[in-house]
């Protein structure tokens, strides 16, 4: 990933947030934390009105015409954005990695590639684009980090969240054995094959519990919905937090 000079001051940027449906309705605090962090760093934040869904649900189900139709709306909504930042590695990967394939050979191919090029997952935006590793956060507690698969393998975002967390004062980060193992969410997979999805959640959560962490942190709220769903039902003590919710604490 291209990294700009860490010595020169960064000019303020206009950051357009993509807020997926589950962050909008279920985890608004994640979005607001991103807003506050970016504003503290001196950037302006907007949330383009026309945005809806990235189109991943129909795309992963095989309904690519429908996915393209939804994604076309997204292309329109973010047409004027300088940079797009997503609080979900999965939705980010959809726009950054899969849009070029989805629109391959279609009229909006160039537009899709253009959007892909300016899309960032939140942690890689901070570290690789802005060159910020320390956002001045303080958070007391013992935590472990879950790598969302799309962030990890489609976007290659292994280090940025850990670099950010290593600078959080008071936070003790303990790696779990199954950090890179899928939590079993997988979108509609979670309800089409609930028994497999749940077994995967169990493996993940047992590994989380082994670390004796008070918190499990991730840069993907959709994974946390699955992990939190299993933990609340079966354990009840470990709390799920999005990376932004930790970084915003002072």
């Amino acid at each position: 990933m291209f990294q700009e000079s860490l010595l020169l001051p960064k000019p303020p940027m206009r950051v357009s947030l993509f807020i997926p449906c589950f962050i909008d309705s279920l985890y608004p605090n994640v979005g607001m934390s991103m807003v506050r962090i970016l504003e503290r760093l001196g950037h302006s934040v907007d949330v383009p009105e026309g945005q809806t869904c990235c189109g991943q649900p129909p795309f992963n189900s095989g309904y690519w015409d429908e996915a393209r139709s939804v994604a076309t709306n997204q292309l329109k909504a973010f047409k004027d954005a300088d940079v797009i930042v997503s609080g979900s590695g999965s939705c980010g990967a959809m726009m950054k990695v899969f849009y070029p394939e989805l629109f391959h050979g279609h009229e909006q191919e160039a537009e899709a590639k253009n959007l892909a090029a300016k899309t960032w997952e939140f942690s890689e935006f901070l570290v690789n684009k802005l060159g910020v590793k320390d956002v001045g956060a303080r958070f007391e507690g013992r935590a472990t980090f879950h790598d969302g698969c799309h962030g990890l393998r489609e976007l290659g975002t292994k280090l940025p969240p850990r670099e950010l967390l290593s600078h959080v004062k008071g936070l003790e980060l303990v790696e779990m054995t199954e950090a890179e193992t899928c939590c079993g969410f997988g979108g509609t997979f979670a309800v089409k094959y609930p028994q497999i999805s749940t077994a995967m959640a169990e493996v993940k959560c047992n590994s989380i519990c082994e670390t004796k962490a008070d918190y499990v942190i991730s840069n993907d709220s959709s994974c946390l919905m699955q992990i939190g769903g299993w933990l609340n039902r079966n354990v009840g003590t470990v709390k799920c937090l999005h990376l932004a919710e930790v970084l915003v604490q002072q």
């Binding site: 979005g31 949330v47 095989g62 309800v191």
Partner: protein
């Protein structure tokens, strides 16, 4: 709905229900695979540059697969020049018929087999037994599975799901041996039985790991020495090999053999690596009098015709993608109901056995990508699962699902309507407890095992609007 679900899919769901409930077995399988993964990481680290090795391996297989006609014919020319025989089998029926006719013509009675997934693919053992031939599997894992009357659980580790005591009980029941918990004793029991069969067998059947075009040879890699005896002792040998196994040059094996061993079992090299170039030549002391190679297509050319997924033919059957797959680890090998289990099996089975009947395997994945990350020959495995899903939906959309996505698209194309809909999310949360856990619960597939978070009283959008208003108010 019933016409959009296949018997294979129903069986899969049922078996997955059963196997995911078996926590001790899941843990044992996961731990065993974790050990292979650790060994693989250690050995992989001894490569100067694993990534470069992967890309070189992928290049070799790409060249071979994209010139199959040329390299297979080169192999045939050179192999037959030394007296070997080559039979081109378009499908499983032709392959079975050839082997059975040959066995009959040569008055074969007993056959010893070394591990060959192609044999499983064409159900060769059943066909041979039905014709009255005695067949014994000589690979230890396959021998155990044969005694158990069960298909291999994992295409590299056929009986990895069995505990030692289960194997001991099986031997006790089938072979009348005393029960033991010692792996050495269990191995010796199998060895005593098997040694006799090499001598008694009139025919040996094997697979092959590679076909080498420029020398006209086949390569077999193994850890028990059983394949050497299977090929070397009986008078007639038949190797049943998929056409995608060809590589252009002998030198390619200098990379591919260590790569296969590392990725598959974490070894630097497997214990025995043999090259066979045909029947026993004048002046040679051992080897079969007749050496047949059956080149098996059986729908591989269908995969070849698909440029998007052609790289699935690069597969060297190392099994690494199974070893890292969270789906495989939790449902086990038999649940797939296929010859080739795990991620690569989910990619290729729909091509081999019908997309509509086997598309559920491509659906039964969270698309985590661990398979693609680990594949030593760079197959884009998890994206091909997406491609299968797309092809299946395009060929035959499921009415209910199709309607769902049309409605979804209708909503998502209308931002104002979408915003209105999200404003009702808290209402959904309010009403959900009334039906939670009942048949009326639209979320039952989720909520029967997991909690679903309540919608926030105030959405991000309204919080952000307030935040903006405060900011502009504050700046005045």
């Amino acid at each position: 709905m019933s016409s959009f679900t296949s018997p294979a899919r129903n069986q899969f769901q049922e078996d997955a229900d059963r196997t995911t409930s078996d926590a001790p077995r899941r843990t044992a399988v996961r731990n065993a695979l974790q050990n292979y993964q650790s060994a693989r990481d250690r050995t992989g680290a001894t490569f100067t540059d694993w990534k470069a090795a992967r890309s070189a391996a992928s290049t070799i297989k790409h060249e071979a697969v994209n010139h199959l006609d040329q390299y297979l014919e080169e192999f045939e020319r050179k192999f037959t020049a030394r007296g070997g025989k080559v039979f081109w089998a378009s499908n499983s029926q032709q392959a079975r018929d050839y082997i059975i006719q040959l066995a009959k013509a040569k008055n074969v009675r007993a056959i010893v087999k070394s591990k060959a997934m192609t044999g499983e693919e064409i159900h060769l053992n059943d066909a041979l037994v039905a014709e009255g031939f005695g067949v014994v599997e000589s690979d230890l894992g396959e021998f155990i599975q044969q005694l158990k009357g069960e298909a291999p659980y994992h295409f590299v580790f056929p009986c990895m799901h069995l505990r030692r005591d289960e194997i001991s009980d099986l031997f006790h029941k089938e072979l009348g041996t005393a029960k033991t918990n010692s792996p050495e004793e269990l191995t010796m029991i199998a060895r005593r039985v098997l040694r006799r069969t090499y001598v008694e067998a009139d025919m040996g059947i094997s697979g092959a790991n590679f076909i080498v075009a420029d020398t006209g040879m086949i390569s077999i890699t193994e850890n028990e020495g059983n394949a050497r005896l299977t090929v070397g002792v009986p008078k007639i040998h038949v190797a049943l090999v998929g056409i995608e196994k060809v590589v252009p040059r002998l030198g390619d094996l200098a990379l591919l053999l260590p790569m296969l061993a590392t990725a598959g079992t974490g070894q630097h090299l497997t214990g025995y690596n043999s090259m066979y170039g045909g029947p026993r030549q004048p002046g040679e002391n051992d080897g079969p009098d007749e050496f047949h190679v059956v080149l098996l297509d059986n729908h591989r050319t269908r995969l070849l015709a698909d440029p998007e997924q052609r790289d699935a033919l690069h597969c060297i059957r190392c099994g690494a993608c199974l070893n890292v797959c969270p789906i495989f680890k939790n449902i086990g090998g038999h649940t797939y109901g296929t010859t080739y289990q795990g991620p690569i099996g989910s990619v290729i089975t729909p091509h081999f056995r019908g997309l509509q009947d086997w598309k559920h395997l491509s659906g039964a994945s969270s698309l985590c990508g661990a398979c693609t990350e680990t594949c030593p020959v760079g197959i884009d495995i998890h994206h091909h699962l997406l491609h299968n899903r797309r092809n299946a939906a395009a060929e035959k959309p499921a009415p209910g699902e199709s309607l769902l996505w049309k409605a979804f698209t209708f909503l998502m194309r209308r931002p104002a309507l979408y915003r209105l809909a999200t404003r009702f999310a808290p209402l959904g949360s309010l009403l959900h407890p009334l039906v939670e856990g009942t048949a009326l619960d639209p979320m039952i597939a989720w909520t029967s095992t997991r909690d679903f978070p309540a919608a926030a009283p105030s959405s991000f959008r309204s919080q952000f609007q307030k935040h903006q208003a405060q900011k502009s108010g504050g700046s005045k």
